[in-house]
């Protein structure tokens, strides 16, 4: 069996309009190891959702996958390049919502306003087997309880609008879990949840993941959540992966200046500071991508003549085994150390 459940190789996704081609996802390459949690993090609009939509082939016009491969290695030994399938290929229907399930970022888009919670969840069970109605209902109610919905019997008969934002999000989580997928793609699954329920849902995702050996592609901007549940992390900026590694490497000793900046802007629980440090400047639009390293206009270490021209830096493996896309990758550990030292003495 392939050690990875998902391998994305040089994926390219563009949106076409009068303004031209917007490359939302650019030469993206990462793998989700079987049975592990890989977190995809990065600023709003960097292409996380578009990447995950591509895996399920949910990119619609004016968007298009323009290159690359999305290899899904199923536990039964079969492999398929999802990027190469036609949109109506029956294999896609088998994989979607069955072997690969997705928790969408905005729960209301995944829920029908005119059907009860119970019916929508049972639907998942009926599409993947033929359980008896009573059994399906029992399983649905059990799952509602497990994701922390109070009074599951009553909720079963309610409509989405009667639930709070966080409850709706848990319904969507329950829906994905009911199909026991091999790969779960969770797009910001806990952003709408308070910390106690977030902890409960993350713990549940983890225990289900361990029970069934499934793998998770977790999309989030919450680095504390990443630290708590991820095994590996890939950091995305402007449609590209700029750094990847183990959770310890990324959170404890980020090497790319962008990753470093992300971690610094965490409004931690350490008291009220006057102003939150944020990475200076703003994310450029996809139509005015800078030359050279896409991060250079915001980077404190950008070097004239090196970082601001030519193609973006390719992924490099440093002598100590770190993987990042930076022209100054090899010297970055030293540079960051020097600057942090200067800051603490200042």
């Amino acid at each position: 069996m392939n050690p990875n459940v998902l391998e994305i190789e040089d994926l390219q996704v563009s949106f076409f309009s009068d303004e031209g081609e917007a490359r939302a996802v650019n030469k993206v390459r990462f793998a989700v190891p079987r049975g592990k949690v890989l977190a995809l993090v990065g600023e709003s609009g960097c292409g996380k959702s578009v990447t995950s939509y591509s895996v399920l082939r949910l990119i619609r016009k004016p968007g298009k996958i323009t290159g690359g491969r999305i290899l899904f290695h199923s536990a039964d030994g079969s492999s398929v390049d999802l990027a190469s399938l036609r949109e109506n290929d029956p294999r896609l229907f088998d994989i979607r919502g069955n072997r690969i399930a997705m928790i969408f970022q905005e729960p209301m888009t995944a829920l029908s306003p005119v059907h009860t919670i119970g019916n929508q969840l049972e639907e998942v069970l009926f599409t993947h087997g033929k359980p008896a109605k009573a059994e399906a209902k029992a399983r649905v109610i059990e799952m509602l309880g497990r994701v922390g919905i109070p009074a599951p019997e009553r909720r079963y008969a309610q409509y989405p609008f009667e639930l709070s934002g966080g409850m709706r999000q848990r319904i969507v989580i329950a829906m994905a879990m009911l199909s026991s997928p091999e790969l779960l793609i969770a797009d910001e699954p806990t952003t709408a949840l308070d910390v106690t329920i977030q902890a409960q849902v993350l713990a549940l995702m983890q225990s289900l993941q361990r029970e069934t050996g499934s793998s998770v592609l977790l999309i989030t901007h919450d680095l504390a959540v990443v630290a708590q549940v991820a095994d590996f992390v890939a950091v995305m900026y402007l449609g590209r992966i700029v750094e990847q590694g183990s959770v310890r490497e990324i959170i404890k000793s980020p090497r790319h200046p962008y990753t470093h900046g992300l971690l610094e802007s965490l409004p931690g629980l350490h008291g009220r500071r006057e102003r939150l440090p944020s990475i200076r400047g703003t994310v450029p639009g996809l139509f005015d991508l800078p030359e050279g390293c896409p991060f250079h206009p915001r980077c404190d270490f950008a070097k004239k003549g090196l970082c601001d021209r030519g193609e973006p830096p390719p992924e490099q493996v440093t002598s100590d085994g770190r993987r990042l896309c930076c022209f100054r990758a090899e010297e970055m550990a030293e540079l960051l150390k020097k600057r942090d030292g200067a800051e603490t003495t200042a």
Partner: protein, 342 residues
């Protein structure tokens, strides 16, 4: 339209509130199944909630998912009708209050300018058939506040403020990422120069660096324009950073209310302690996910005594029998637990 003054609801004369909420209640009927959907009970989503919001203050509202935060703020702004209680609001800042609860739809219109809301779900609150420019301009157009070039300029200005490019004006919501849509919602609320903004999970869809920018923006606007916010959020780091005072809700009631640092340094209510203790820490070497944080309260079927008693490690027979009232524990610090002082 009735006009009230602070004596009518017991506000502080030294520091008159912008908004005074008194015994606010919002119940949703639970109906039986079948053809005749008889009412068989109530979900007490908001149950006798009282607090003051001062001028130029950010009041945080935190609590478990489903505890009634959105319902509280939506009821105050009359997106929902009151089941009971009052929300006295002073739109001109001259001590002449109106009660949101008793205004007619017609009387509410001018107040909508002064009191704005940023919604929790950016997707369902943006009209998919309108361009971004149209969405942000709409409130100005409805209230006849700007037109032509002035309108365009105002829209551009506010888009830049929330970190979006004015060139995006001709695009539709679906072409934006989740976080970008959230900022469109913020721009739409702020374009009116309101006095009072309710932000319901306004920054939770944003990543940390954009979040930092938006938080700094909200803070700047507060200083520049003398704004007041009710800030509903579950990210305690953000709440600690931006709020002046924090109210903690549990099962439809406020269980603790205190100045921010006081609340984080000296939480009194056992639920507040559980909440503060559950925040994930950004350290992969200290994984603290609890195996089971306990049952969640059901607003449709609350126990007789303290709603938190079934989960509370300190609960006694008294707690299960009598519902504790919100009491002053020390000046400015309220909590509703008889053992909070110990």
């Amino acid at each position: 339209m009735n006009i009230y003054n602070i004596d009518d609801f017991g506000g502080s004369a030294v520091n008159p509130p912008l908004l005074a909420v008194r015994d606010l209640c919002k119940y949703f009927p639970i109906r039986s199944r079948g053809l005749v959907r008889r009412k068989v009970g109530d979900v007490k989503a908001v149950d006798h909630v009282s607090f003051d919001l001062y001028r130029n203050e950010t009041l945080g509202l935190v609590g478990e998912s489903g505890c009634g935060k959105s319902t509280t703020v939506r009821t105050i702004l009359r997106a929902l009708d009151f089941t009971g209680g009052h929300a006295y609001f002073d739109p001109e800042g001259n001590g002449r209050y109106v009660d949101f609860g008793e205004l007619t739809a017609h009387e509410l219109v001018p107040l909508r300018r002064a009191a704005q809301m940023i919604f929790q779900d950016p997707f369902s609150s943006l009209n998919p058939r309108m361009t971004i420019g149209g969405i942000v301009a709409e409130p100005l157009v409805i209230h006849g506040l700007a037109r032509g070039k002035a309108l365009e300029e105002r829209v551009d200005e506010i888009l830049v403020k929330v970190g979006l490019k004015p060139e995006y004006k001709t695009r539709y919501p679906h072409a934006f990422s989740g976080g970008q849509r959230q900022r469109i919602g913020i721009a739409r609320a702020l374009v009116m120069n309101p006095k009072f903004v309710v932000a319901d999970e306004a920054v939770s869809a944003l990543d940390v660096s954009v979040q930092a920018q938006v938080i700094n923006l909200l803070d700047d606007l507060k200083r520049e324009m003398g704004l007041s916010y009710i800030f509903v959020a579950h990210d305690l780091g953000v709440v600690r950073h931006i709020c002046d005072r924090v109210a903690v809700m549990y099962a439809g009631r406020i269980v603790e209310l205190a100045p921010t640092e006081e609340l984080f340094e000296r939480p009194l209510h056992p639920y507040t302690r559980l909440l503060l203790g559950s925040a994930p820490i950004p350290d992969p070497d200290r994984r603290t996910l609890p195996p089971n944080p306990g049952e969640v309260a059901d607003a449709g079927n609350l126990p007789a005594g303290c709603a938190f008693a079934p989960r509370c490690p300190y609960a006694t027979a008294v707690c299960r029998k009598e519902r504790p009232e919100l009491r002053t524990m020390s000046p400015l610090h309220l909590a509703s637990c008889p053992f909070a002082e110990q």
